[in-house]
């Protein structure tokens, strides 16, 4: 079922990389790509930081199923409802829409995914290591950096990569919260795809696909290595 329409684009005369060069020369697409990257990177950083902290807090310090539910809700909250709620919030604060508003919005649901993954990993890890560290005189902050973080490294990588790829392709929330002058790539694609799928779009899709596949492969390698440690 890995149905993939982003096969190498064909011109009428045969196989050619012509469309890839059209892509590179298209300022809109480059702009969209740049914006999307910025958003994805910053979103990943924010969601990793907040999500990890939250996961640890829930695992070690405050066992509350209500709070866990709240922490995970952004992941499954209907994206359309979230999008317009955020739009309402931003406009009433007279906040100019732009990449920053997209980042804020993306970080919200990406954080929930990071929390879920790190939380899952923490549940499997024995907290006795951390307790031992504390008994030996370490501070909670120190324990966090020296014991907890290393033990959840695979989860951090998985969570970070998931956050990155989710943000990369996210359309609905970006559509509502982005400023009109800084479109992200999915928004650019939406404007173009309305006209039917052209070969450039296929080329673009292939590029994004390859990048994502690359990320996933790196993730796989990394996680396997970590498991063996």
């Amino acid at each position: 079922m890995s149905f993939n329409k982003s096969d190498a684009p064909f011109t009428w005369t045969g196989f050619s990389t012509k469309w890839y060069s059209v892509l590179v020369n298209s300022p809109n697409i480059i702009e969209g790509f740049k914006n999307t990257l910025i958003v994805a990177v910053v979103t990943t950083i924010i969601s990793l930081a907040l999500g990890t902290l939250l996961a640890i807090g829930l695992a070690r310090y405050q066992k509350s199923s209500a709070l866990e539910a709240v922490a995970l809700t952004p992941a499954i909250f209907p994206d359309l409802a979230l999008a317009i709620g955020l739009l309402a919030l931003f406009t009433s604060l007279h906040l100019t829409l732009g990449l920053h508003s997209v980042i804020i919005s993306h970080a919200l649901f990406c954080m929930a995914f990071v929390t879920a993954i790190v939380r899952g990993r923490l549940a499997q890890i024995d907290s006795s290591l951390e307790e031992a560290a504390q008994d030996l005189g370490d501070t909670p902050i120190g324990t966090f950096f020296r014991v907890t973080l290393p033990s959840i490294k695979p989860a951090l990588i998985a969570g970070g990569l998931l956050a990155f790829t989710l943000s990369l392709d996210e359309f609905v929330i970006a559509f509502f919260t982005d400023g009109p002058s800084t479109p992200t790539l999915p928004i650019v694609i939406y404007s173009m795809v309305r006209f039917g799928v052209s070969p450039e779009i296929n080329a673009l899709a292939t590029v994004v696909l390859l990048i994502s596949a690359l990320i996933v492969t790196i993730a796989q390698r990394n996680v396997k290595v970590q498991d063996q440690i």
């Binding site: 902290l53 409802a81 317009i84 919030l89 919200l108 795809v193 799928v197 296929n202």
Partner: protein, 297 residues
């Protein structure tokens, strides 16, 4: 922050514990409150306001948005959305469960590859994936042309621009979200339990029904939510694959916000989706507790 263990007594420890708790929990929870709960609050507040002449909101309190929403036109759209999303979810389960189960039976290294393959389409842009179906299924598209060339049919099938096309589009879009959680649940089942059951005289079918299925249920329920919620609120698939002839609640919300610029009314629609989510959450928790309680007995 002098937090050496040696200083102070139980008070110091308590204070430290409180501080640590705050450090970990406060940033995340504040963020969620600010950017999910407060926007939710906005939506709720907006449902009681009025539309300005050219759109936006005016601070005139009214129940009119709610009474309008109860009009059969909009209730009809909501019901249709739930039906279409449910169909997609059901199909996702029917197809996804066997697939997930089959994967668990494979050797471990093959499992990873297959999982990646399943998730791979996800990494293609959603809009493009949906458009691919149009290219494939339209009356002049690959599928019809192929069937005609093979002589199997004489007139092209009209597969697109109907509700069934929307179900198909949603199914294809979200089925990985059904397969992965089910796989997760299945993989965590201790094979010893099944062996014990069989040793005690159960047939494989019975063991499956009474051990595997209930223990897989949490994954199934999560998968169902992961498929249903984005499906019911989707506006792209109905627009592209439904030919604009079938509108779902997502289209309604989008139109209210972008075309009619009737934010208060759109907010009522959006709120209905949030309520649906809460209802599903609730059902999932209840079913989980009941079924898992039985299985553990």
């Amino acid at each position: 922050m002098a937090l050496a263990v040696k200083s102070g007594g139980r008070d110091a420890i308590k204070r430290r514990a409180l501080l640590s708790r705050a450090v970990f929990l406060v940033p995340g929870l504040t963020y969620i409150t600010a950017f999910m709960l407060i926007p939710l609050g906005f939506i709720i507040v907006y449902t009681f306001l009025s539309r300005g002449t050219y759109g936006g909101i005016e601070f005139i309190f009214t129940f009119e948005n709610y009474t309008r929403a109860l009009d059969s036109l909009y209730v009809g759209v909501l019901v249709k959305s739930i039906l279409i999303a449910s169909a997609a979810t059901l199909l996702a389960f029917v197809i996804g469960f066997p697939v997930a189960y089959a994967i668990t039976k494979l050797p471990t290294n093959r499992q990873n590859i297959l999982l990646v393959l399943i998730v791979l389409p996800f990494w293609t842009n959603f809009l493009i994936r949906t458009y691919a179906w149009i290219v494939l299924l339209n009356t002049q598209g690959f599928l019809n042309k192929g069937l005609i060339n093979l002589g199997l049919i004489s007139q092209p099938f009209e597969l697109l621009y109907k509700p069934s096309a929307i179900v198909l589009g949603l199914l294809y879009a979200y089925i990985p979200l059904m397969i992965l959680p089910i796989y997760s649940s299945l993989v965590r089942i201790d094979p010893a339990m099944k062996e014990a059951a069989i040793n005690l005289g159960a047939t494989p079918a019975q063991a499956f029904r009474q051990i595997t299925l209930p223990l897989a249920l949490p994954g199934v329920l999560i998968g169902a939510i992961f498929v249903f919620v984005p499906s019911v609120g989707n506006f792209i698939v109905p627009e592209l694959l439904g030919g604009g002839k079938t509108i779902m609640v997502g289209n309604l919300i989008r139109d209210q916000f972008l075309k009619a610029r009737d934010w208060p009314f759109g907010s009522v629609m959006a709120l209905s989706m949030v309520i649906m989510l809460c209802a599903l959450f609730f059902i999932q928790a209840r079913v989980n507790r009941r079924v898992l309680g039985d299985a553990r007995a």
